[in-house]
Symmetry: C2
Subunit: 383 residues, 2 copies
Amino acid sequence: MANKPLKKLLLAPGPTPVSPLALQAMSLPIIHHRSADFKPVLQSVRDGLKWLFQTKNEVIVLTSTGTGGMVSAVNNFFNSGDKVIVIDGGKFGERWTEICQSYGLNADVIKVEWGYTIKIEEVEKRLKADPNIKGVLVQATETSTGVNHDVEKLAKLIKNYENTLFIVDAVSSLVAHDLKTDEWGVDIMVSGSQKGLALPPGLAFIAVSEKAWKKAETSKLPHFYFNLKAELKNIKENQTNFTSPVSLLIGLNEAIKQLKEEGLENVFKRHERLANATRAGIVAMGLKLYAKEMPSNSVTAICAPDGIDGQEIYKILRDKYGITTAGGQGKAKGKIFRIAHLGYADTFDIISGLAAIEMTLKGLGHPITLGKGIAAAEEILMK
Amino acid sequence: MANKPLKKLLLAPGPTPVSPLALQAMSLPIIHHRSADFKPVLQSVRDGLKWLFQTKNEVIVLTSTGTGGMVSAVNNFFNSGDKVIVIDGGKFGERWTEICQSYGLNADVIKVEWGYTIKIEEVEKRLKADPNIKGVLVQATETSTGVNHDVEKLAKLIKNYENTLFIVDAVSSLVAHDLKTDEWGVDIMVSGSQKGLALPPGLAFIAVSEKAWKKAETSKLPHFYFNLKAELKNIKENQTNFTSPVSLLIGLNEAIKQLKEEGLENVFKRHERLANATRAGIVAMGLKLYAKEMPSNSVTAICAPDGIDGQEIYKILRDKYGITTAGGQGKAKGKIFRIAHLGYADTFDIISGLAAIEMTLKGLGHPITLGKGIAAAEEILMK
């Protein structure tokens, strides 16, 4: 490689870049998690998470990746043999199934073709057919395909079923999308630190409804580490069950402060604008979006042109241009590559990502007009 | 402004962005400048500066801006009434004249039309006519116009005149251009921290030849703070005359380490590549370069299109797109704007800057084809 990149840019759908102010806050000396210094941080984080999750309930913080949050959403609310519907439109839908099965739940999996969104009627049909369904699990954004499922419509349907909890994996969609936890009636909303919140990996967040807390009373699944009831009791006393991840929470406090300054509506608009520009740029290059409907504002999955391996594009972007995106996962591996516009992301991250894709494809001999994708993105970004 | 930029990008010809590793090094607790901890830092910096300035002589470090370095190059080597030639092709040529005049030197100013480079014959004619000329002062890069003067050719000429010192302001050209201090025979080479070295402002560097040190013996101009002989005596004992700027020197040590890892030839090639791409992009947009000859690899000065104020372009780039470039100085104010490709700069800084210029001009109603400048830059950057 003639020009080894001096600078690197993270455009993966997690981890995403951390803002300089959050990095700076996290680099301060460690304080003790039971100290008076830390109490105001945790109090501020609790208030901030309620604001961000649009809920009046406590949002539980776990020291784990987002998957830990997903696990806690299963092993705190169900029992072995419980029947749940899993909406599976990609790699993370599969993960819901795996988690449910590992705890002995009876997962009724609705397979959604990759690149497509769930048909609400499919869920309704099953709920009507079986009054014993204890939960519906879905991704707000299926990160592997860049497709959203319609959380608002699903919530509207599911709240008619009083025995059924609606559980949403919002790991990669919180901050990018307006998710009205309480207003829509989502029972459990899970997210993580390394996506829209633009922090290092290491924190999971779980907003839990009253209805779900009641169900938690009857759950007998083992959950020593991910014990949400114990966490709730602790957080009401302004502490965490185990050692608090102090640096990450200090960073979270700073990240939420920055989001508040920007304003939640503006944050969503920024993600929409960046996502629109990315999609317009990709289409103008003559490439196809992998999402056939409801594309996410967090991540755009792009079909590799015929005859070009998506992993090869991913590698050139990384090694020649210093830009880390993501390849395809599971059965999409080799067929797609994915670029995020999530978290601490702005105009020129998109311009840079699109320019790198243009140069990469041209370098691979793909017939592409340099600058064409950029022009389409610029039209949107300059507005 | 609909979209307040979340991120900011510094593309000014100084200060330039500081690398994360240098920022990190400078954020460590302060150590004492006479301590054993600091000695190895200063030793390493001394060796590194010799490597960077391509000289076997000590490079003096001053706690000042680059202008302090320029002042020290005058008030340590001359006497009141001394006749010197000043090559003045812009704002910083004017500064040489002002400094010389403030110390009572007799400055014979060769005015070079802004946007053009010095004709060597002009200098030769004057040197031949007057054997009493004590110095020739020039900019390697005239930052206000984006034009280089040919330091190598000037050095070759001037070294035939044993009473004449050749003094080069390399504040904005060191690191971007291959300046062979000893091999070419430059007597005094001045630079600063906030340009190619990609550090905060606050340090000036002066490489001094044997010939110049001899002249320093006879200089009677006042120079209590910028006392280069006292600094030389101290630096040979691995210390500075006054309090060492410890954090900046720790940052400098890290910056030099990074340049060494990249390799000096690669550093120059990177700047050349970024400058070429910038110029190609600007020309493809239908704009004119302000430099009519010998354009600098540090900074590109761009003529504002007819009917558009260069300052207006500068302000939109800053306020709407979060990109700080530079406007015009002195008589070029309003006529030009300037974008740097200097120091810790890479491919997507150029892409970002050019995209912002395209969007700005289109937004001002200038007939521009979006993506055209980017395409021309990409052609060069992907090689």
